[in-house]
């Protein structure tokens, strides 16, 4: 028996995180439910005039996606920190950069991808024109990956703190803002007929940058948190 290869190990971690998520349907359901509920709140709070709503649908959908990412990213490392698994991860002979990517991937699959897949339903509820739905899904897929990466930086830096919940939002919301701007602009563009390619390309560029840098920051953050 030897140490497992890095790829099998990361896949195993990914599987573990997904099983943990799906064993707890409330945590899976939460983002979706949250999404559905907040979509319902907007007409209630803003007044249901349909033409106005459809004008704001891209922004509303993106804000909700962002918030639901924000809420869940706090928990990515917390339970592992509390039950001692995180220490074991840091001591493992596997490269932390990649194992951290497995955590992020799981988080992205469970929040971002899931949301992107169900977002057409909500888009229709908000009267988003049909031609923009494809761009909505694509921009959510790309953008939520960036959000997950950035959110996990905040999670790693605050996981050792006794009261991390609010603080993490303060740290990462400013970094979420560019994603929100380009994401909602892409959808807005699709509504008005502007080609969405450039926007999606910018989101893709952000994603590449984040994939290259965020795991470094996360690994550093985790080491600091376990130490403190």
């Amino acid at each position: 028996m030897s140490a497992p290869g890095t790829l099998p190990f990361c896949l195993r971690l990914l599987r573990r995180q997904l099983v943990l998520a799906f064993r707890r349907p409330i945590e899976i359901g939460n983002p979706l439910l949250f999404f559905a509920m907040v979509v319902a709140l907007f007409p209630l709070g803003l007044g249901p005039a349909p033409e106005q709503l459809s004008g704001f649908a891209p922004g509303i959908l993106w804000i909700i996606a962002l918030l639901s990412n924000l809420l869940t990213s706090d928990a990515v490392f917390r339970s592992d920190f509390e039950d001692g698994s995180l220490e074991q991860l840091l001591l493992s002979p596997q490269p932390l950069f990649l194992s951290v990517l497995a955590y992020i991937a799981a988080h992205w699959l469970v929040t971002g991808v899931l949301l992107a897949l169900v977002s057409p339903v909500f888009a229709l509820m908000l009267n988003l024109p049909v031609q923009a739905v494809g761009v909505l899904v694509a921009s959510l897929l790309l953008g939520s990956a960036v959000l997950s990466l950035v959110g996990c930086i905040g999670a790693a830096l605050t996981v050792g703190l006794k009261r991390g919940g609010m603080l993490i939002s303060l740290l990462i919301l400013p970094f979420y803002m560019p994603v929100l701007i380009f994401g909602s602009a892409a959808v807005q563009g699709a509504v008005t007929g502007v080609p969405a390619g450039p926007y999606l390309a910018i989101l893709g560029a952000m994603l590449c940058l984040a994939i290259a840098l965020a795991p470094l920051a996360i690994a550093a953050g985790l080491r600091i948190s376990v130490d403190a």
């Binding site: 930086i153 400013p174 803002m177 560019p178 602009a185 920051a217 600091i224």
Partner: protein, 248 residues
């Protein structure tokens, strides 16, 4: 060169040299600040479009400019602390955050006070204003993160990571906010007085900008000194200092 860096890493040396610097710089700064304020408030002619309200520029612009520069100082200090593991860079980084936050706050508040007579509203979601607001969030995030940790060494490291991430992100944030604003273009409001600044207004403004830079340096050094004392409380030199100065 190396000896200089080596000395920079030594807390007692830093403490004493910063004391010397402060003894000269602080009075100069205060005089420059007072002179600039009196000059700007009383001795310049009013702007032909905005009248006297434009006098706010002498605090608004310096605060905004120095606040922006301060983030880079902070992030570079953070990078040094992470890459070269220099403890004093940590201290400098931590000391930057509250000053930067205060200056950003001043820029926002004076800007919004200026906005009321000029635009008739306290707040607009203009690109520059919005990015200034985001800058405030960034600063406050660093302050809050630092305060949240008990172990100040770990806090310093965590903040260094955060400010480095911030340094990568700030250009992205700025560009995206700029672009966001130009995309929507609510043409009703425009910044006035951009390039039409008159030399008689420029000189006091330059004086104030320099004074704010000097003030930033002074506050930075003072914060660093306090931080040094707290971190090094168990060492000989601090305890000797406490015996000399603590009784007063």
């Amino acid at each position: 060169m190396w000896t200089f860096f080596h000395k920079l890493g030594s807390p007692p040396w830093l403490y004493s040299i910063s004391g010397t610097i402060l003894r000269w710089l602080l009075p100069i700064t205060l005089v420059a600040l007072a002179a600039g304020i009196v000059w700007g408030l009383l001795f310049t002619a009013p702007d032909f479009r905005q009248g006297n309200s434009y006098r706010i520029i002498y605090i608004h612009v310096p605060a905004a400019v120095v606040a922006l520069a301060g983030y880079y100082v902070m992030a570079i200090a953070g990078a040094i602390s992470l890459i070269w593991k220099m403890k004093m860079a940590d201290v400098a980084m931590k000391a930057c955050a509250p000053i930067g936050a205060a200056l950003t706050f001043i820029a926002l508040v004076t800007g919004s006070i200026w906005g009321k007579p000029t635009w008739g509203t306290w707040w607009v979601w203009d690109a520059r204003i919005t990015s200034m607001l985001i800058l405030l969030f960034l600063y406050l995030g660093v302050v809050a993160l630092y305060e949240a940790y008990d172990n100040k060494e770990a806090a310093g490291k965590a903040c260094a990571v955060l400010s480095l991430v911030g340094m990568v992100n700030i250009p992205i944030i700025y560009k995206s906010v700029d672009w966001w604003y130009s995309l929507h273009q609510p043409a009703s409001i425009k910044f006035t007085g951009e390039s039409s600044i008159d030399p008689s207004m420029l000189y006091p403004l330059l004086l104030m900008i320099s004074a704010f830079y000097a003030l930033f340096t002074c506050c930075l050094l003072m914060n660093m000194r306090a931080e040094l004392l707290e971190r090094e409380a168990r060492t000989n030199w601090v305890q000797r200092l406490a015996k000399q100065e603590g009784r007063s």
